[in-house]
Amino acid sequence: MSNHNHSPKCSQLLGSLSDYIDGDLQAELCAEIEEHVKDCDNCRIVVNTLKKTIELYEQTSNQPSELPEKVREKLFLKLNLEDYLKKG
């Protein structure tokens, strides 16, 4: 394990990383980041692990989530919609 000793260039790059990963960054700036990470191992790891972090969270949230039946029942009672309870 080691800490990242950023040069000014590296810390400037950090500010654009979300847009880069989401595909919202201008082509010119994307090229700049890609050029930089070719020679900067630390930044390459930060970019890759940031992507992986988002991916892992996306994977965990992609599972369908159902409202627990008890929670649904109480909600319908609270909203005076008990007549519709069985239709869900």
Binding site: S2, N3, H4, L14, V46, K52, T53, E66
Partner: protein
């Protein structure tokens, strides 16, 4: 949130049609509950927010102008309710309206460099690491957590997230980046303990 909810007749909802409202509840409540649970980390609190969201929505529907989609509007009510509970718990919590700035120098301070991407998939998503991922979200400050939950967990766009939170796009982007970097940092520390010594940098 699914498109079906946005296709329910707004006119029916506005005149208090109970069947249309029931459809709206059924199409959206699992999402609203999940968001509340992720923001609050407590099932009872999430249930309270869920109920309060639809009570308020039902009352306010006749006045709803449709400037955003009905689902974005529901998220907005739910998130405000959830943040109110967060503030009650910790009154010193930074307001969601505070204007954040991003300082690359400060953020890069003490950054962990561990290439955990090389761990096998099975190792990255064990039930233990899933629990860690959940806990890490709860460790984020509420003003960052709420943005991360909506954008990266619920898959809303930057614009939808901004609308739901009443923030500017830039504000949302800054919070999102800070949330993502903090989670990356936490995961790096966590997974570094699972990597063979030799592959650590």
């Amino acid at each position: 949130m699914n498109e079906t909810a946005n296709n329910i007749s707004l006119e029916s909802l506005k005149i208090g049609d109970r069947e249309a409202f029931t459809r709206l509840v059924d199409e959206t409540s699992s999402h609203i509950y999940r968001v509340a649970l992720q923001i609050l980390g407590d099932e009872q609190d999430a249930e309270d927010v869920l109920q309060e969201t639809y009570i308020k929505a039902f009352r306010a529907l006749p006045e709803f102008e449709g400037r955003s989609s009905v689902t974005t509007w529901l998220y907005r009510i739910a998130v405000n309710e959830a943040l109110m509970l967060v503030r009650k718990r910790k009154p010193q919590t930074i307001s969601i309206d505070e204007n954040p700035s991003f300082d690359g120098e400060a953020e890069s301070e003490g950054m962990e460099i561990v290439d955990f991407c090389c761990l096998p998939e099975g190792e990255l998503l064990t039930s233990e690491s899933r629990e860690f991922l959940e806990r890490a979200i709860q460790n984020l400050p509420a003003n960052l957590r709420v943005v991360f939950v909506m954008r990266d967990l619920e898959g809303m766009s930057i614009q939808e997230t901004s609308e739901a939170l009443g923030l500017s796009d830039n504000n949302v982007k800054t919070r999102l980046l800070r949330a993502r970097l903090r989670l990356r940092q936490e995961l790096s520390v966590y997974f570094s303990g699972k990597m063979p010594e030799v592959s650590q940098r």
